[in-house]
Point group: C2
Chain length 378, copies 2
Amino acid sequence: MSASFSFRLIKTDGPARRGVMVTPHGRVETPAFMPVGTQGTVKGLTPEVVRDTGTQIVLGNTYHLMLRPGAERIAALGGLHRFMNWPGPILTDSGGFQVMSLSALRKLSAQGVTFRSHLDGSLHHLSPERAIEIQALLGADISMQLDECLRLPAPSAEIARAMRLSLAWAERSKRAFAAHARAGHALFGIVQGGDDLALRAESARVLADMDFDGYAIGGLAVGEPQATMLKVVAETAPLLPAERPRYLMGVGTPHDLLEAVARGIDLFDCVLPTRNGRHGLAFTRHGAINLANARHAADPRPLDEGSAHPAARSYSRAYLHHLVKANEMLGAVLLSTINLAYYQQLMAGMRAAIEAGGFAEFRARTMAEWERGDIPPR
Amino acid sequence: MSASFSFRLIKTDGPARRGVMVTPHGRVETPAFMPVGTQGTVKGLTPEVVRDTGTQIVLGNTYHLMLRPGAERIAALGGLHRFMNWPGPILTDSGGFQVMSLSALRKLSAQGVTFRSHLDGSLHHLSPERAIEIQALLGADISMQLDECLRLPAPSAEIARAMRLSLAWAERSKRAFAAHARAGHALFGIVQGGDDLALRAESARVLADMDFDGYAIGGLAVGEPQATMLKVVAETAPLLPAERPRYLMGVGTPHDLLEAVARGIDLFDCVLPTRNGRHGLAFTRHGAINLANARHAADPRPLDEGSAHPAARSYSRAYLHHLVKANEMLGAVLLSTINLAYYQQLMAGMRAAIEAGGFAEFRARTMAEWERGDIPPR
């Protein structure tokens, strides 16, 4: 609980980076994937199960937790780590993204955003300062600045306005974070600028001058084609300080992760492995497999007999198909587990490949193996 | 996989019995509680979690499994143990009870019962012989005869008719079971007779003469008051062969279990710990606790800091309340786990008390401790 936040690059292989983040609640080997613990829980999974997938850090959603059970409530109960019984590192988002996507009647001003809860219609306000305060109450190891995130496509002027507002909020977030003085905790700034590379460069440059503990690329995976996302990542990542971690928010598929690591990203979060698991879709070394499909009904083979995780080896596809068709909770539990284990296995594979200087070969081999599944990697 | 079924009484303490059942898939210390694995899964829980609650044997539902994925399908996949990845003993019911409660358009004759699936309306037939065949296909360690189970109250003549039909089916089940010749597997007969003690005695006497591997008391927990159930159990159990296990079907609350063991029962199954767990109700040493209640919202205490199971110690009531209110799957998972662990802890406590000759004292102390919970023990 006493280590200061730090990030150390161990090895690079082209733009791909192998590093270690140290946080007050432990180490994170990067590139790393964070499962999303939306409402104080990675859906359906105990912390032990999450840990046993190879997960080292989870993400908590400020928007959900501020509305229920409330940040002050969680603080009074000893913070989010104790609340959800997760002893490892936690990164929290600022709440901004979900205010935009989930709440009703939101009103944005330079001051912040006022909105009504999607749960009960109650009125709430989120400013850069309040977002930092909430994350401090939750006890996050890594906090995120409040930003404004647009859907794409969006008009250029609108993208520029939101990017500059996010920069102003970055400055205010940094001051507020310093005032909370939680020793060793980290604050990340967020690059905005939509699909406009010049705006992205401006955002990255100004944020870098503010000297954050880490840098996120936000406002992607919001409706744009994958090629656009990867282009923005490829152009933006090199503009960020090399000695700080780089986090691509809300991304993505296994293919997205592989391609983004190839472009210099260190950290990811996404609901895909758990959400798709709840809907019967498995991610494996051999691609994505839709277990609702009748062709699995009599298949005695496990999803991946070579997986390091027992859940991928111990249950037949026929059984998983049965659970999905019968809408059994255990189907969601097992497929969420199997998917997270695959994501973490993929990250571990990327880390080992970068260390060995063989990332390009690993990437080619991994993509070739995916072609054997139901669903093309893109 | 090779042990023959056997039952051995270790100790009695008044009518209460401490024994050991040996099955082809392992030992069961009695009195024992069986979680219900309705559709080939104890809802929401992996086999490892089920085992770690102290569970030694689970129940499988013939009705559900014959309809989906089908008994022949499960046999082709290596049987129910392999299908659900549960290596321990499995008892299967005959399907009769759920045909009566779930299916549509059922037609009962001396031959058997014809019914339509509640899933897709397809037509199915269950006879004593087919029920045994299905259970053999599933690979059950302990099979149950097909019987007719009435809701109570019911007219005397109707109870007598159903009891005599069940006796005839017991005879046919025994012949069919012998024909399948699965070495070491067991078949239990089922005492019927509703709340009529004379009919119960007749049923028990005729079944005992048929020499089953074990005896169930069926047709209880079907709408009658607890006192009626316990009266039937108290009068019927002593009429069954002492050297064979006695199973009270579909029972019950912790209080039911305590009172039925006090009257000579060795084996139970019930959906209560898992179903109530899914609805936010926890069973603990200190009685039942409704976690949806707002008074738990800020309570940092675990459900039972003295529990042998970590799930009852590691999560605050405030967190469990939050999960229940947010309708999070993990709430159902944790409360099902905690409830099963409590049921198994209660059974282990009864076993130890009988061994020590202190069952009456254990029973009084356990009931006094329940009074501290939200919900009276009855």
